[in-house]
């Protein structure tokens, strides 16, 4: 079961090696490059290619980020989940260092890139990917000082994500509760999937080694404590924690306790699969007139309380690929035809609860069509929006206690926001 990567490659968009690190000496750069360029040529679109590919004794796994491919090669039965996830972490590390990970930034920083590749992986085993701590001892030119005298304690500590001796004048914590609503409605108007993925995003500016404890209106916890729940408690279905949270403790008594990393991170994510009423409902009617023009009528309705308002609403209505000469009218917001995505983009900056808006559009169609044409790709209507100060789940942060031995007072700020995730209605 043991297994590790043989090498890690950073390749450009054409599959040529930009920088690579050989960890085991059993896969060569030429071999990998030959394989990968062939793959790209053959498939044209590597997006459609399985991310795990076997070729001539070697398994390659890759991901893409802007104009760079990150790829590992291995000859063993290594942990695929771990290596692919590691590649995503490597992207995060590079982004932390160079702001953007792209061909140019790799070239501009190849010395640091090599140093990082040496530190994050050893003999093909992922070692350490906390960008913030790495940057304490692997520095780019601009920040380079004299020789670092030792690796930060954090690298090997049980608390591997935070260094000691951090100091802020003003100790503050920002906690954003962000919920994404995923919904899939089929052509009969039935909701066939609906779930909410929430994340508690934290930004901490705290001195020393603060012990934090977070209290939520978690039904299991409240019931265990024998408190009246009064319908306010919620059931969190699947919770995932940042590695700083003590999982065993949570398992025991549902306490969320942790020493946070410095700066921003996702403290936890959760998922609820309870059916929710679609916050914004969209209906569309399409009428094709004698192959020459098509009329589309769209109705959008907000189905949340009037005191909330959705902002930056964007409704993408698919139109036939061969449509032209749009003529659009809306009762609110503006609509523009986006031929590159075969859609009509209807934007409404502010959409209060309990309202209904309309859009009418007309397109002309060519009078002749290709007999052999494959059927039109049936894209769903897709909706984007944000609703501030509102959560679908009703999650509430009851408290965030911060205790540090120096005894400072820290201010926690909490915000709530709901937004559309994969919000698709196959109604057209």
């Amino acid at each position: 079961m043991a297994g590790a990567a043989s090498a890690l490659f950073l390749l450009d968009i054409k599959g040529r090696v930009l920088v690579w690190r050989d960890y085991r000496g059993d896969v060569s750069a030429t071999q990998a490059e030959r394989f990968f360029t062939k793959l790209i040529e053959k498939e044209g679109d590597p997006q459609s290619q399985d991310p795990v590919v076997y070729d001539n004794g070697v398994t390659y796994m890759f991901i893409q980020h802007s104009n760079v491919y990150l790829m590992t090669a291995t000859r063993q039965n290594c942990n695929a989940a771990s290596l692919l996830f590691f590649l995503h972490r490597v992207v995060d590390v590079f982004k932390h260092y160079f702001e953007e990970l792209e061909e140019e930034s790799l070239r501009d920083n190849f010395v640091v890139v090599y140093e990082l590749l040496d530190e994050i992986m050893d003999f093909g085993y992922p070692q350490y990917t906390e960008a913030k701590i790495l940057s304490e001892f692997i520095k780019t030119d601009a920040y380079r000082m004299e020789v670092t005298q030792r690796p930060p304690m954090a690298v090997t500590n049980a608390v591997s994500w935070r260094s000691e001796g951090i100091n802020y004048k003003k100790n503050e914590v920002f906690l954003d509760v962000v919920e994404s609503v995923n919904i899939l409605v089929n052509s009969n108007g039935q909701i066939i999937r609906s779930d909410v993925v929430g994340a508690l995003k934290m930004r901490t500016y705290l001195s020393g080694m603060p012990e934090c404890k977070l209290g939520l209106n978690d039904r299991v916890l409240l019931e265990a404590q024998g408190r009246a729940t009064k319908g306010k408690a919620i059931d969190l279905e699947d919770i995932k924690f940042h590695q700083c949270v003590r999982l065993a403790r949570f398992e025991n008594d549902r306490t969320i306790s942790f020493i946070p990393p410095d700066g921003s991170f996702d403290l936890m994510t959760y998922r609820l699969s309870t059916q929710v009423k679609p916050l914004i409902w969209v209906e569309a009617q399409v009428e094709k007139h004698s192959r020459s023009r098509v009329e589309i009528m769209v109705k959008a309705r907000s189905q949340f309380k009037e005191r909330s308002t959705a902002t930056n609403v964007e409704i993408a209505v698919p139109v036939p690929a061969d449509a032209s000469s749009p003529n659009v009218r809306t009762s609110m917001g503006s609509a523009a035809y986006a031929p590159e995505s075969d859609a009509l983009m209807w934007k409404i900056r502010s959409f209060p609860g309990g309202k209904e808006y309309m859009l009418r559009a007309e397109f002309t169609l060519p009078s002749i069509t290709d007999e052999e044409a494959t059927p039109e790709r049936k894209a769903p209507i897709r909706v984007k929006f944000e609703i501030p100060y509102f959560t679908v789940s009703g999650i509430q942060v009851r408290y965030l206690k911060i205790i540090e031995k120096s005894g400072y007072q820290a201010l926690p700020w909490v915000r709530y926001i709901t937004m559309a995730g994969e919000y698709e209605l196959r109604l057209i």
């Binding site: 043991a2 000496g25 004794g57 771990s82 640091v112 920040y143 591997s160 590695q243 398992e251």
Partner: protein, 904 residues
């Protein structure tokens, strides 16, 4: 924090190397550092800067950590090509490994371990010993991994110097990161050793479970992966372990989650309490579902694993089918996998919703996905009897859209549905016939023709329909020709009127005289003879009732599934193949010593020699869903030959019996003596019937040597045997001659075999699936392994010169190498004799240092040669086998065979 390193790439004028040389020897520190950066930049873009070795190494002694790292990097890259100069660096390495700065100490051992030069390795031991006991955990964690590196280069050295013991001590280290790396190193060493090195006792178990709470996310993966090998003593211990692992399901790192799932599933096998199991299943579902919100690549790995998990524990996700519905923007590889799982989770309860989804997918743009969706509908129909009708009506709706490939795919699956539910849905045939002329794919055509032939009596104009195909008979692909032949015969037998009579003449003529396809000709002759000898018998044979096919969606063999589940999260679980089919450990090229000219004359390369790079592994795992292992335990809905002709052994036997006397009378060899055969169907599974069998070669013929033992209480008779499609198209050449077996009786028989009958597609596999039936018991299925050496033909001898020529003419990519560390050749003569007996012909022998190198040739049918090189030290364990062949995909099978031969 952007850098400006790109300027180092831009010095590409002539005379670069001398210029760099000068700068590297500059007296100014900054200039030297810039020069090293330029060297590394040149190395990065693939220029050979190895000639600057001495100059770069001179910059190694520096206080500047950045510069030091660059020089080290250079060393890792070029030490192999300059082994003699690399020794220059040793002093600095040794010194650095005692530097007060732990970063430098760690850097020194880490880098030394990466330099695969023997001379350096010797000097690595002392620093490594020190660093394993270093005060600083950062150094210790690096040293732990370094032991694994050293083991990879020189395993003996590691054992002699007691590094394994030091490594084991690190498991009790107080630092979690050190523990995790020690576990990773030990697990890897164990993997490559036959001796027990890393045994997890209950004591280490509890230590590692404690470390789990404290180490980094990657360390947690190492520990969980290593611990999943642990076998708990009893249900109670298993429950305890599971209890300590379940919190990991809440980890944000999905690799931690999957490894935790693996470990829980392993332990669950031991847990007897159904409550506990149910509870665990409930706990695992949400994290598995959440994996589907991860990045698409991770989703892909998760889906391949979920596919396995639901085969073993269908209840876990029974209510979650909706999360597998495809999203518009899912990459195609995610959609394909989701579809597979939807079929597995489809049930009477959710089928309506699922069908609605499939219908939606069938109108997407990606053709492969659409086809798969249409097939999925068919598979659901076959799986769920009560939903079959609804599935069919969806298929008919799709056919009405008249999109060419949808129609064809629908017809293919409808044919399977007919085989699953005979005489139930024939009313739709009329609708199918409407699309007849749009069919242009062989499989669809063949399916349609099969339907017409099978139901000829219900289709009024069946003869007209078939006749329309006959005109183009010679141009049709073999698959369609075979079906046309069979369908016409069926038509004739069902409607023996004038029209069909003429048709059959035309077809038989076309299929015997006009064709050069032996399969087609053989089948046509069989029909011809049958029809002319005894039309009634022909009816019995051709129109016999076909076995009903069944659902193949839970297709993996249970023992394979076990193995794959033990490998969750790894590549094995992604490929759905056991690790040894794709793991190729090649020794990275250490320096080659001397004249390795004969017979591979390739240059000594730096990174690897092409010989080593060649694939020693197996069939490339096609990571799509067409898993060869799943192929069939049932007579699958064989699309190619659903006609009953080929697979019925009696018929084939009789026919050959008419021609010549190739049938070996069973009694001739039917003695109960001879070497024992491996038991393939133990009496415990076979309701008292035990079957042992093995392929054997005798007098230039291939036989299946079988032994039947009746341990049941009743007399068994009417034995029949059938082989599933396999890579070599092995099939019975005669009928199975076993007399009725009284309770307690046993019988041994030789069944003559033929090759290239019913070949399975895909990469070659040694799997041979056998079905045996008798009149008293259900059909027994068992798996056997095809050992390639039974195919070695007696004309495989090659002349020395032609051997050399063939070796040279084959590209290096056709060379495959495998080592058998456990095998010892104690006497050359005996081994040569034994190999010669199996038609592996000795060609030449030479001495190379203390090793003996032997060359052999062998040939398998269809003239595929194997050129073999065996390297070993007589009397010492370890045999290296290199082969060259035009069909390198056969290599894994060959190695299996040679391993058996050498071990014998």
């Amino acid at each position: 924090m952007s850098g400006h390193d790109s300027k180092y790439f831009s010095t590409t004028k002539k005379g670069e190397i001398p210029e760099l040389k000068e700068e590297l020897n500059s007296q100014y520190k900054d200039k030297r550092k810039d020069a090293v950066k330029k060297v590394i930049a040149a190395m990065t873009v693939g220029k050979d800067v190895s000639s600057l070795f001495t100059d770069v190494v001179n910059c190694m002694q520096t206080e500047n950590l950045e510069l030091k790292k660059l020089v080290y990097l250079y060393l890792i890259n070029y030490a192999k090509s300059q082994p003699d100069l690399a020794i220059l660096a040793v002093n600095t390495f040794v010194k650095d490994s005692q530097d007060p700065n732990p970063l430098i100490r760690a850097l020194a051992v880490r880098t030394m371990g990466c330099i695969r030069v023997d001379k350096i390795t010797e000097y690595l031991c002392d620093p490594l010993q020190r660093c394993l006991k270093d005060d600083d955990p950062y150094v210790r964690k690096t040293a732990a991994i370094c032991v694994a590196k050293l083991y990879d280069i020189n395993a003996e050295l590691v054992e002699d110097r007691g590094f394994l013991e030091s490594l084991k001590d690190l498991i009790s280290d107080n630092n979690p990161m050190v523990v995790a790396n020690a576990v990773a190193a030990l697990a890897e060493i164990q993997e490559n050793s036959t001796r027990p090195i890393f045994e997890i006792t209950s004591h280490t178990l509890s230590k590692l479970l404690t470390a789990l709470n404290e180490c980094t996310e990657w360390g947690q993966v190492f520990i969980l992966d290593a611990l999943s090998r642990y076998k708990a003593a009893d249900a109670r211990e298993a429950e305890n372990i599971v209890e300590r692992v379940t919190p990991r399901l809440q980890h944000a790192n999905c690799a931690v989650v999957l490894s935790a799932v693996k470990m829980i599933l392993q332990q669950m096998e031991l847990i007897t309490s159904t409550d506990v199991v149910r509870n665990l299943c409930k706990k695992m579902a949400p994290p598995l579902v959440t994996l589907l919100s991860a990045e698409p690549e991770i989703q892909y790995v998760a889906l391949r694993n979920i596919n396995l998990i639901v085969q073993r524990r269908p209840t876990i996700l029974a209510h979650e089918i909706k999360v597998f519905f495809c999203k518009y923007n899912d990459p195609i590889y995610v959609k394909m996998e989701k579809l597979e799982i939807m079929i597995k989770l489809a049930s009477d309860r959710n089928i309506d919703q699922v069908l609605l989804e499939f219908k939606e997918y069938a109108t997407e743009v990606d053709v492969d996905f659409v086809r798969k969706a249409v097939r999925a509908i068919g598979r659901c129909a076959i799986k769920l009897e009560r939903a079959a009708e609804r599935c069919i009506s969806v298929l008919l709706e799709l056919i009405k859209i008249k999109v060419n490939y949808v129609v064809q795919e629908a017809i293919i699956v409808i044919k399977d549905i007919f085989r699953r539910y005979p005489n139930t849905y024939e009313s739709i045939i009329a609708t199918l016939c409407e699309s007849l002329d749009t069919l242009d794919e062989p499989e669809a055509k063949a399916s349609m023709i099969w339907i017409i032939g099978e139901y000829a009596e219900r289709i009024d104009n069946a003869d007209e329909l078939l006749e329309s195909f006959l005109e183009s008979f010679p141009e049709e692909p073999p698959q369609v020709q075979l079906q046309l032949l069979t369908a016409t015969v069926k038509l004739f037998l069902k409607k023996p009127t004038e029209g069909p009579q003429q048709m059959i003449q035309v077809v038989l003529n076309n299929a015997t005289v006009e064709t050069d396809n032996p399969d087609l000709r053989d089948r046509a002759y069989i029909y011809w003879r049958l029809l002319s000898t005894d039309p009634e018998a022909a009816k019995d044979v051709v129109l016999a009732e076909k076995p009903v096919i069944s659902d193949d969606s839970n297709q993996l063999d249970p023992s394979l599934l076990d193995e794959l589940l033990a490998n969750i999260a790894t590549l094995s679980s992604v490929y759905h193949k056991p690790p040894d089919t794709f793991v190729t450990r090649v020794k990275p090229a250490t320096q080659r010593t001397e004249d390795d000219e004969y017979p591979d004359g390739n240059e000594t390369g730096y990174a690897e020699s092409p010989a080593n790079a060649a694939d020693g592994g197996a069939s490339p795992p096609t990571s799509s869903s067409s898993v060869p292992y799943g192929a069939a335990r049932q007579p699958a809905p064989a699309p190619a030959a659903p006609a009953p002709v080929a697979p019925v052994p009696d018929l084939l036997g009789d026919l050959i019996g008419l021609d010549n006397n190739a049938i070996v009378p069973a009694d001739q060899h039917a003695t109960s003596s001879g070497p024992p055969l491996p038991i393939l169907l133990p009496a415990s599974t076979g309701q008292g019937l035990q079957i042992s069998a093995q392929l054997a070669r005798q007098d230039g013929q291939i036989f299946y040597s079988l032994q039947f033992e009746n341990n049941s209480q009743i007399t068994l008779d009417g034995f029949m045997i059938q082989f599933n499609k396999n890579s070599f198209g092995l099939a019975a050449a005669g009928s199975l001659q076993v007399p009725p077996l009284a309770p307690g009786a046993s019988r041994r028989t030789l069944l003559p075999m033929v090759l290239f009958q019913n070949m399975s597609a895909g990469p070659p596999s040694s799997l041979l699936q056998v079905a045996v039936k008798n009149n008293q018991q259900p059909v027994w299925y068992f798996n056997d392994k095809i050992l390639l050496h039974v195919f070695f033909t007696d004309d495989g001898r090659m002349e020395r010169t032609s051997f050399l020529e063939t070796w040279r003419s084959l590209p290096d990519s056709n060379e495959v190498l495998k080592e058998f560390p456990g095998i010892m050749v104690s006497s050359a003569e005996a081994t040569l004799d034994r190999l010669a007996a199996t038609n592996m012909f000795f060609i030449a022998k030479r001495k190379h240092a203390n090793q003996d190198v032997f060359y052999f040739s062998a040939k398998i049918p269809r003239g595929i040669p194997f050129l073999i090189e065996l390297t070993t030290v007589i009397g010492n364990p370890g045999v290296k086998c290199a082969i060259k062949t035009p069909n390198p995909e056969m290599a894994p099978l060959f190695f299996e065979a040679i391993e058996t031969l050498l071990k014998a």
